[in-house]
């Protein structure tokens, strides 16, 4: 569904927001999707043949994200039609996991969350794409290539990547007399500096001082202990042994807990509602995606003015930023691999496809040329400060930290997110991490055993 008409100014092409143009475009996309749909119904046809037929594609984005790319692809590949099916973001991973475990062959390609690639690969849910590895390597960002592989083999084609920056509310900082953070990566703030600035703004009247976009989620918080050298939390030869009770982890999460207990961050606000805190002007500093649609919209509508700083780090440690996003994989149980592969390659390896596919999302494509183009276009938007593109590129090249390439990632993330939530709500950092460690140890045991058996 085309959902938020207002919010869709994410495309780099649109410099100025025009509601009328928007609705016209959305409607025409809808009409074309409709006719595309009836064409699909007609050409259910040949599903066995190489590189032809109807390809079902599953992901979590609104249809408007992939429609332009699908249209263009179908024009140049008249024998193949792509039927896109989206699931609610919260459910996508579980539904995919469930269907693949049942060896559902009805869909040949799907979006896989990059940290889940090892787990899916180990369970046989992803077709080995190593025959293309060398050519893929040249066409996409190196880090994205790594994030789509497991055990030395390429199992998926990277689609997008991500990073994080520090937003600040210009007027709240001014009111508090705080010098804004710098976009220069060498001059980035430490977390201590960030916290004291946040406290100043709260003394001067800001309701909240500092909030993470993806509150209580491993994606966002992994970089805290990493910055202190505490590692990703998984260790051992197969990254199946929990390691979240070392000093760095405990220190990082005691710090995290203090954000809430000291009143800088509100408790009980889920990730989807955090951006609104900043957009409503109640929050001084926000750690989020570099082109967060809600915040861009708010700025372009004149609701508030914000600026950007580089993602903070722990003084004495190393800067670390979250990264990675979706990759696309082939379902080994399906017999339409050829046709699906062509579609996936178009979307991930060809500049035109990659650019079209990334027009309506706030994250850059990983195809090298499309990436450059996308970054350039977005940085030219009036809402983005100068030097935005330099910052993004720097972080992606230098400070980005992947999530651990473990086949037990899902169990790990699940337990850790719950632990983070408990810590945010006031539980003791050390004790909670210890409990999480024990729980996860139990959960990961079957995986360790299975790997041993495999030899």
């Amino acid at each position: 569904m085309s959902g938020n008409v207002n919010g869709m100014i994410r495309g780099p092409i649109r410099a100025k927001f025009s509601r009328r143009q928007f609705i016209a475009r959305a409607l025409s996309a809808g009409v074309l999707a409709g006719t595309g749909g009836s064409l699909l119904a007609a050409c259910g046809g040949d599903q066995q043949g190489a590189a032809s037929g109807e390809v079902k594609f599953i992901a979590a984005e609104e249809p408007v994200v992939f429609q332009p790319a699908i249209k263009r692809f179908e024009k140049s590949h008249p024998d193949i039609s792509v039927a896109y099916n989206n699931y609610p973001f919260d459910q996508l991973n579980s539904v995919l996991q469930s269907r693949l475990q049942s060896k559902d062959s009805s869909f040949p390609c799907y979006a896989v969350d990059q940290p889940r690639v090892p787990g899916f690969a180990a369970r046989g849910y992803l077709t080995d794409l190593s025959d293309q590895a060398s050519s893929v390597k040249e066409k996409v960002l190196r880090s994205a290539f790594e994030a789509s592989s497991y055990d030395g083999k390429l199992y998926s084609l990277p689609l997008w990547t991500s990073t994080q920056v520090l937003y600040y509310n210009t007027s709240l900082l001014e009111k508090a007399g705080v010098e804004p953070p710098s976009m220069d990566p060498d001059k980035r703030w430490t977390w201590d500096e960030t916290v004291s600035a946040a406290k100043e703004t709260q003394k001067a009247g800001a309701k909240w001082g500092l909030v993470f976009n993806q509150i209580n989620r491993y994606y966002q918080l992994q970089v805290l202990p990493e910055s202190l050298g505490g590692g990703s939390g998984l260790t051992g030869p197969d990254l199946l042994e929990p390691d979240v009770t070392n000093d760095a982890w405990v220190r990082a999460f005691e710090w995290y807990r203090s954000l809430f207990s000291d009143g800088l961050s509100p408790r009980g606000v889920p990730p989807e509602q955090t951006a609104a805190l900043f957009a409503d002007g109640e929050l001084a500093m926000f750690v989020g995606l570099p082109s967060d649609p809600t915040l861009e919209e708010a700025k372009s509508k004149g609701q508030l003015d914000w600026g950007l700083g580089a993602h903070p780090y722990f003084g004495g440690g190393e800067p670390a930023t979250p990264t990675d996003s979706w990759a696309l994989g082939l379902n080994p149980f399906s017999d339409q691999q050829e046709a699906a592969r062509e579609w996936l390659e178009y979307l991930t390896l060809e500049k035109e496809g990659a650019l079209l596919g990334a027009q309506n999302v706030p994250v850059p494509p990983t195809q090298v040329e499309a990436f450059r183009e996308w970054i350039r276009e977005v940085s030219e938007r009036p809402t983005e400060p100068k030097g935005w593109d330099e910052l993004i590129k720097y972080e992606l090249d230098n400070t980005a930290v992947h999530r651990p390439r473990s086949i037990g990632y899902v169990q790990f993330e699940e337990v850790m997110n719950t632990a983070f939530k408990d810590i945010a709500n006031g539980a003791d950092g050390g004790a909670t991490l210890q409990r999480a460690s024990d729980e996860r140890d139990e959960a990961l045991e079957p995986l360790r055993r299975a790997l041993e058996q495999q030899g």
């Binding site: 991973n93 579980s94 539904v95 996991q97 469930s98 475990q101 180990a122 369970r123 046989g124 849910y125 309701k207 509100p266 408790r267 009980g268 606000v269 889920p270 509602q273 086949i407 899902v410 169990q411 699940e414 997110n417 719950t418 939530k421 408990d422 945010a424 709500n425 006031g426 539980a427 729980e439 139990e442 959960a443 079957p446 995986l447 299975a450 790997l451 058996q453 495999q454």
Partner: protein, 321 residues
């Protein structure tokens, strides 16, 4: 023409208290009738029975079988018979025992609470009051809102920085922590679930209340009985069936509840809202361990069956089912 039936003692409902002689007579006539009515019964029952078997029992059986297998963890490592391993793991796991405790506590409070409130509302809204239809509509809305959205609304409302606390502080109370506190999270879930459920169960109780003939109530009024007396001596006994239904159905519904947990607390804080079904859902869908999830469901079923049987016994002991 089944003339012989007129000579048979009138078949009263099987659960009415009877003396042994009548019971024996019944059984004899039952056996005689069994054959004839059996065929007709089969025809009446067939569609539903087929549906129940195919769409409930067979997959349940499959789940039970899965519970005895080891989890499928890697490609190429197939699932093998694991006996009672999954069950042993659960029964020795402090997390599972915590979720049993939490679930029983939850159901033990929520079910009587909701039933009592639903009954009170049913009584209230069947009085002679103005605009009863409107008030009833307001009570139908909560369970009509999609289940993914009502917890979301309450989640927003009960945010520590949200409107419920705003109201509380205006009145002069301290702001509460609701879902962010281990002691308040479960009661907060109970509140959300009750908001949804009370109107729903009320419908069944209204149906039951309106089935009570006016004549009884008028007679009682003529005899000068006060409202409490009417309630306890006439209304309540006649409401036994609908109440029994609501009690059992409500118990089952709350035992298998997990959607609000998923939406609001993810089992926390500190496992205080970790209901069995939520844990099962996590295991089955997020982690992908169907074996452990199936074992957990079987255990849940056993617990639920025990409680429902007790409820049935209590209700039939009073005379009607």
């Amino acid at each position: 023409m089944n003339n012989d039936r007129t000579r048979v003692p009138i078949e009263s409902e099987p659960s009415r208290t009877q003396d042994p002689a009548d019971k024996r007579a019944q059984r004899r006539s039952s056996a005689a009738r069994g054959g004839r009515e059996g065929l007709v019964a089969l025809l009446f029952l067939a569609p539903a029975l087929v549906a129940l078997v195919l769409f409930r029992l067979v997959p349940a059986g499959s789940a039970v079988v899965t519970s005895f297998k080891s989890p499928v963890v890697l490609a190429g490592v197939s699932s093998s018979f694991a006996g009672l391993d999954n069950y042993k793991a659960l029964l020795t796991s402090p997390d599972f025992l915590n979720s049993v405790k939490t679930t029983v506590l939850f159901v033990g409070i929520v079910v009587p609470l909701q039933t009592a409130v639903a009954l009170s509302l049913a009584l209230l809204l069947t009085r002679d009051i103005l605009a009863a239809k409107t008030w009833r509509l307001f009570l139908f809305l909560p369970f009509s809102v999609p289940l993914g959205i009502s917890p979301l609304i309450w989640g927003i409302g009960m945010r520590p920085d949200g409107p419920v606390n705003a109201v509380l502080t205006t009145i002069g109370f301290e702001p509460q922590r609701f879902f962010t506190s281990a002691s308040q999270a479960l009661p907060s879930i109970m509140l959300v679930v009750s908001w949804i459920g009370v109107g729903y169960w009320m419908v069944f109780l209204i149906a039951g209340l309106q089935d009570i003939p006016n004549t009884y109530l008028e007679a009682a009024a003529i005899d000068g009985a006060g409202p409490w007396s009417v309630f306890f001596r006439i209304v309540l006994p006649l409401m036994r069936r609908p109440l029994a239904f609501v009690l059992v159905a409500n118990t089952v519904a709350n035992f298998i509840l997990f959607a609000p947990i998923q939406a609001l607390t993810s089992g926390g804080p500190k496992g205080s809202t970790d209901l069995i079904m939520y844990d099962t859902f996590e295991k089955a869908f997020i982690v992908g361990d169907r074996s452990a999830a199936s074992a957990e469901v079987v255990l849940l079923l056993i617990i639920m069956l025990a409680i429902v049987i007790v409820q049935f016994r209590l209700i039939s002991a009073e005379g009607t089912t």
